[in-house]
Amino acid sequence: MASNVYIKAVKQISAQQPLCEEWLEHPITYTEPYIGSVEPDYKLFFAPNEARRLGKILRRALLVSRQTMKETDIHNPEAIITGTGLGCIENTEFFLKDLVNEGEELLKPTYFMQSTHNTISSLIAIDAKCNGYNTTYSNKGISFECALLDAFLQMNGGKLHSALVGAYDEMTPDYFTLLKRAGYLGKEGLCFAGETSVGMMLVDNSPQTALCRVENVEICYGKPDWEYLKQCLNFESVDAVMTGLNGEAANDGIYNRECAKWFPQKPLLHYKHLFGESYTSPAFAVYASAICLSRQYIPQHLFAKPETAFKDREIKRILCYNSFENRNHSFIILSICGR
């Protein structure tokens, strides 16, 4: 018998207030095209010199992981599974700049060690003394969903009982400039380029204390088989669809077209205006949906069309639909826990 999968806790550091859900009532709004994360005071969480060697993304990843483990009281998860589009891009840039400027003989070991994508997941494992399954998915705009799918399938099949799933990406000024020049970011109407640090603990038990249940995770390449998905994910009973609307005409056209066809009358939610665009930003869709399901409350500003907003109504199921360049698609059904 397949095990149910629950999200027991989720923590974030982003363009919104870190490690809390202040954005529900008092979201920070931005007009700039590139926004870094609002950093917590790391001195409150790390001993002096403990994090001195860590790049920004590693500090964030370590902190959200520690906070997630602390809240769930699961200090040694059976698996640590991470999604990242760019990995430790800042240290990679430092390393490459040194390589260009100093040649191959005077390279700093720290930048080298922390320039690989799987540094994040391994650092969390070393910190937590977790010797179990440790995997990093780096599949551009669908990296987080691959990590979640891995955990979901293993837990569903009874191979895992706890998994720390994370999504981490940072944005550097240089990389932003390159993506802007290539026409991916900084476009008219497009939300800001942001950074992602989300850690969530998945468990196969204790629905009473979980935020929500992960009912299903589907990813596909190319055109989705909508008829199959409609039946498999039971579109009819979805209360809202959390979309990757980001203000850019071509991207939003995909969501508006498909959602009008497959989810008519369903309120569309969005989150990228709050958390920004990044390869792993779909993790914020799951984060925001889990919080909304847990609190049985969707703030007005999450509704893409204010006139579709509702309240005082039970929220049972939210579908997180992400389309990356209309090429990779993911569908994640989150539902209320039996309580």
Binding site: P48, N49, R52, R53, E102, L106, L107, K108, P109, T110
Partner: protein
């Protein structure tokens, strides 16, 4: 020599990202590596390590910091350290390091 010691302290702080450490916090005679305990007034004579610092704990640096310092030596002073055993001696303290730099620097 004092000027070089101060410069080395500043470079060590910068390259190793020793947040919250100021040059004046670093005892130039204290060991850079390991976690050597300073002598405790209550220790018995036979318990006292004759090489332990009298007043201060070391910086507690590790092997990765040693690699960073080797890069620093070559980059800033043109000193190539190839013998690991020698490195252990040179990095004993900031003062020892300054003396070695003074005697061997090529830039």
């Amino acid at each position: 020599m004092d000027e070089l010691i101060l410069k080395l302290k500043q470079e060590i702080i910068e390259v190793l990202n020793l947040e919250e450490v100021k040059p004046e916090d670093i005892d130039e005679n204290a060991p850079l590596f390991g976690s050597v305990k300073p002598i405790d007034a209550n220790q018995e004579p036979e318990e006292i390590d004759e090489n332990a610092p009298l007043f201060s704990k070391g910086l507690g640096l590790d092997s990765i910091d040693a690699l960073e310092l080797i890069v620093l030596m070559e980059k800033n002073y043109g000193i190539k350290l190839k013998d690991p055993a020698k490195g252990k001696e040179i990095f004993k303290s900031v003062k020892v390091l300054a003396q070695y730099v003074e005697a061997n620097r090529t830039k």
